[in-house]
Symmetry: C2
Subunit: 326 residues, 2 copies
């Protein structure tokens, strides 16, 4: 029986957001204070990432301490530097004689053309990490919508910029016996988002005020330009699968690949040259489970999280959100 | 306007099937007599492939002469040897002084436990190549269903082997202006297949004689075993995107990755450790088009081809097909 769960069912992970709502950017930090196995799959054509090489199964690091999702395009990688400082001060990191080096991986999405051209910086990264580690943290209460890395996130940029919609950050969690698999995602896609019944709920707003079918937008030819290289449409959907499963780095990498199937199911088009779509997997290792089962549940949770991200978003920066069209 | 097309609209490619229906195995050969740009994306956990290293963008070969999809698990790679012979006799290949080396890449699917434990051999590969190159070839008439690499293909192996269904080979083609993008696929998946309305049309046959929701099968726990490593459930969906677009090897690789999104949309679960899911892209270079547009159309054609593969299949080897349940 697959049942709903919450992020509180994964006590090995602590999640914090920080944002600048006026500038339309922010970051979300997932901390594993004791370290956790981590994998990644980068499937977009324009990613911005850090510390992904050490995630390769053949490389040495076995425990990662934080995954940082941030706006600000590649400038947003700065937020991870503030996360490192916050973790190192608390003794969270890879211990080498007298040194403590927090292993902080992450990726950024492009929100520079929404709101002001600001980006998450060291102070914002530190703030998000400190919120994640604060007393009274409640995983079940992690905010969704226009928060953290989802603050400046938008969807439906296949056509004119003014036809796009506001999206945001969402999460979902599932349980199968002792196994808990959750997904957290900031949806900032070129394409349109559909629900599990196939209805388009966010994306390009058509002349009738409803979300257009992205293939029809493509066929009208606007997408032929928007989908070309070098256009101003820089996108990226950033996700993290969190689980209490015991996964090797290799299996975490495989689960990350499987979770991208949720992007394919809920977003169209996705994984284009103009998306930097990335999924991390963060596994704390308390429960024995096969990579396929974790991957299938991870894709399911991710699909729900994507929908939650767009349904939780509020209209902002001149763009409507899904709830405004209902 | 995206319009239907056929394989006859891609005259640079010639397709031939050969099979042993009694043994439930076969192969499908796509020949590009003048050579074509080729890329590949392998996303299943258990692939069987040949000549995929030379497809890497940094490697030398720029023109591939055939893609071979075959049953027989890794034994089926033998079919490509017969294809090489047939092409070399006709002077189709990479010319080096007096030598002519046909560049033949390909992948295999697992059908050894259906019918007799035979596999496509050199003679069968040659036969398929000769049919592809025969006078009177008509791309619009390329057969679908229990033919070629789809001869022994089945789906829905998440539960007991006797609950699986027969699948096969399908194709579809689309046109957008001068650009033609087609997909051909042999569907042999662990998971279940759904149509564009989300209805399960082939997969695990439930106690009520209908196709079960694969997540419910998973939750019943049978899949926890079936999805584990080392089980007898070896699967693989093999696809090829064919297009008249001009694509570099790098862009062909990207398009192959995008086409896997069709697998995610039409098959669940897919890309597991027990699938060797692979997509090749074969681009003949007559029409200028961006990788994203070709990729989006390729995914669309591939999704239709997957559905065509299961709807064209006929019940065989004790297993029903989708048309038997209607």
């Amino acid at each position: 029986m697959i049942a709903p769960a919450t992020l509180a069912d994964l006590p090995a992970f602590r999640i914090g957001h920080a944002q600048d709502a006026a500038a339309a950017t922010g970051c979300t930090v997932i901390v594993a204070p004791a370290g956790a196995s981590c994998g990644v799959a980068v499937r977009g054509g324009g990613p911005a990432t850090r510390e992904t090489d050490l995630l390769r199964p053949e490389n040495m690091i076995e425990a990662v301490h934080a995954v940082v999702l941030a706006g600000g395009s590649a400038f947003g990688l700065e937020a991870s530097c503030g996360v490192m400082d916050a973790l190192a001060e608390r003794g969270i990191g890879f211990q080498m004689a007298g040194a403590c080096v927090p292993i902080v991986t992450g990726a950024c999405l492009f929100d520079l053309l929404v709101g002001a051209p600001a980006h998450p910086d060291k102070a914002m990264g530190r703030e998000a990490a400190e919120r994640a580690l604060a007393d009274g943290y409640d995983g079940a209460a992690v905010a969704q919508g226009n928060v953290g890395a989802g603050t400046g996130a938008t969807v439906g940029k296949l056509a004119a910029p003014e036809a796009a919609m506001k999206a945001g950050l969402g999460w979902s969690a599932l349980r199968l016996g002792d196994l808990v698999v959750a997904a957290l995602v900031a949806v900032n896609a070129l394409g349109c988002v559909r629900d599990s019944q196939g209805r388009w709920v966010a994306g390009v707003v058509g002349p009738d005020g409803r979300v257009a079918d992205p293939l029809e937008v493509l066929a009208r030819g606007t997408a032929a330009q928007a989908g070309g290289e070098g256009g101003p449409v820089a996108n990226t959907t950033l996700g993290v699968v969190l689980t209490n499963a015991r996964l090797t780095k290799a299996h975490a990498t495989k689960v990350a690949s499987l979770a991208h199937d949720a992007y394919a199911r809920a977003i169209k088009p996705v994984h284009t040259m103009n998306d930097g779509d990335t999924v991390f997997v963060f596994a704390s290792g308390e429960v024995e489970a096969g990579a396929d089962v974790v991957g299938v549940l991870g894709a399911e949770a991710m699909e729900q999280a994507i929908l939650s991200a767009v349904m939780s978003a509020e209209g902002a920066y001149g763009l409507p959100a899904a709830r405004d069209l209902a």
